[in-house]
Point group: C2
Chain length 334, copies 2
């Protein structure tokens, strides 16, 4: 294992130190609790947005803290859920009197721990908490760390869109309904060309042959649908987009947001090339791509691979997507 | 070789198609000439900024086209200089009557071809062209593709800073002087943990053992200073920052911009961890980090590795750095 780290045990806290040092005007980092806060949290009268999960998916979630997106992100160890204590601290700290939304990817540990934190926050401080659990991955029904579908790329889009709505001052119930709507309007599927290596494990999570890829890979390297022989970008895009379209709730004429996400080790030139393939497939199906996102946003350390997320849009979602955002990982108009 | 591509010969043009499809509101792409334009180019009365170079370093340069940065970027084949014909077309297309600056990384092919294009633009259309050649890499004096130092990370910072100055309407001579000043105020050094694979070659450019890294690597995988045994992030940061500081023009009290750049295959969590190490070294040397940048900006396909760039700042440079920018790869305040 060759990595730019010191002791594998210190990776998360040292990276958090780096985030704090790189973004002093925007973020405040509680190094003991491993929670990243928007510097001006709590924002009075605004619904607070809290997310979190295992580290190793950067920029998600810590890189999405800031104006127009999250108020706090709890960082677990690499590929390990944060604990309720972190989520409880974040929830209390960002409550500006309008309640808090927990944005949780559907992994058993995360769901359980966020649930516990929500109950504690209500019991201890009377903070109103609503929860959305993202489960957009069409690859598998149940998985190594999940009952039901896994939460992946839609989480990024949801944090942006719901973050903009919270910034507008929409109330908690409306924010929670919007979050549910975004999750239900999006579907994702990924593939891997290589494994990643968890620092504390020191060796690749799995092995893939030189001529195969894993279709439907999870963001922790957990198995997908199957291993298939390596194919052209054109064929791979088809294998990702087809199962998404089969399952995507969408009426004729509704545009989509197309999100091509690098898993960490796949260069941007290949991501744009794949975006071209995705766009070509959608154009043939007479589906308009009204908005798009290409880059490394929800990653699996240095895994080579890519995921595609499609989100069915309406005017409200487009307006919220276009609204200003100012985070280390996503920034425009601010 | 496992890559998300179709025919290796089509990688660049297909990625350009993807860029055009992903950024229709911001960019216009001439697929035949392989030039990416800011959509509203030429901007009347503004100095036009043209850069370019081999592909494989994305988001540089095409991802830096837009308001507050470049007006056009010429894309060569992977790790291969674009040709004078492309640069000539770009120069003519972006001239808004105030002349054009060529921003050229110091590689023999790029320098020669941009020089030829500048002469042609002057002779054919009377367009005033000035050129800045970046050469900030302290690793080696001469290199596989370079006489003199190589141009690396400072190029990104220069395109942002000089782009902001052009947006303000500063005249060509002033823009050219500013570009020279930025180049002279910055120094860089990189390292690699793995090689990258050029699609048309189909195999890694070089081999590195499991316990070694290459100090002073070039962005095309060309040799650096030497191979050394793998070390901790703390020691690696020291090996990068020390030679930079030895050479960086800087008076006591002047702050710096610290830029930690991923080479393509190194995850963001490691980049932030390394930023923490760099920041710690600079704090000990009593050097204030007034601005920072962390992420994949000038890459070498999927190479695992990292470079550090330090740029000595003054108030003018800070103001220009903070000015709005709206490109696919760098975006704030717009």
């Amino acid at each position: 294992m060759k990595k730019l780290i010191n002791d594998p045990e210190d990776v998360v806290v040292e990276a958090l130190r780096g985030m704090a040092a790189a973004h002093p005007d925007h973020l405040r980092v509680d190094l003991e609790k491993k929670v990243i806060y928007r510097k001006d949290a709590p924002v009075r009268g605004k619904v607070g947005l809290v997310s979190g999960g295992g580290s190793g998916h950067e920029p998600m979630h810590g890189g999405f803290v800031g104006l127009g997106m999250l108020d706090a992100a709890c960082a677990g160890e690499v590929f390990t859920s944060p604990v309720p204590d972190q989520m409880m601290a974040a929830t209390t700290a960002v409550d500006g009197g309008a309640g808090v939304l927990h944005i949780v990817k559907n992994y058993t540990g995360d769901v359980m721990n966020f649930e516990m934190a929500a109950e504690m926050a209500d019991a201890d401080s009377g903070i109103q908490v609503r929860t959305v659990v993202t489960n957009d991955d069409v690859a598998v029904k149940d998985s190594l760390y999940t009952a039901g579908r896994r939460g992946v790329g839609v989480t990024v889009l949801l944090e942006k869109i719901v973050g903009a709505a919270a910034e507008q001052g929409r109330p908690l119930e409306e924010i929670a309904d919007l979050a549910t709507k975004v999750n239900e309007s999006g579907r994702s599927m990924g593939l891997a060309l290589t494994s990643c290596t968890v620092p504390s494990a020191g060796k690749p999570t799995f092995e893939l042959g030189d001529d195969e890829f894993e279709l439907g890979i999870g963001i922790h390297g957990e198995p997908g649908r199957e291993r298939r022989p390596m194919a052209s970008a054109r064929e791979l895009a088809q294998q990702l987009v087809e199962p998404i379209l089969e399952d995507l709730p969408r009426k004729d004429g509704q545009p989509v947001l197309a999100f091509v996400n690098g898993m960490g080790g796949t260069p941007l030139i290949e991501q744009y090339l794949m975006f071209n393939e995705v766009q070509t497939i959608l154009a043939k199906a007479d589906i308009q791509v009204a908005r798009s996102l290409v880059g490394n946003y929800i990653t699996s350390l240095e895994m080579a691979g890519l995921s595609v997320t499609l989100l069915t849009l309406d005017d409200d979602l487009i307006g919220l997507w276009d609204a200003p955002v100012n985070t280390p990982g996503l920034r425009w108009g601010a």
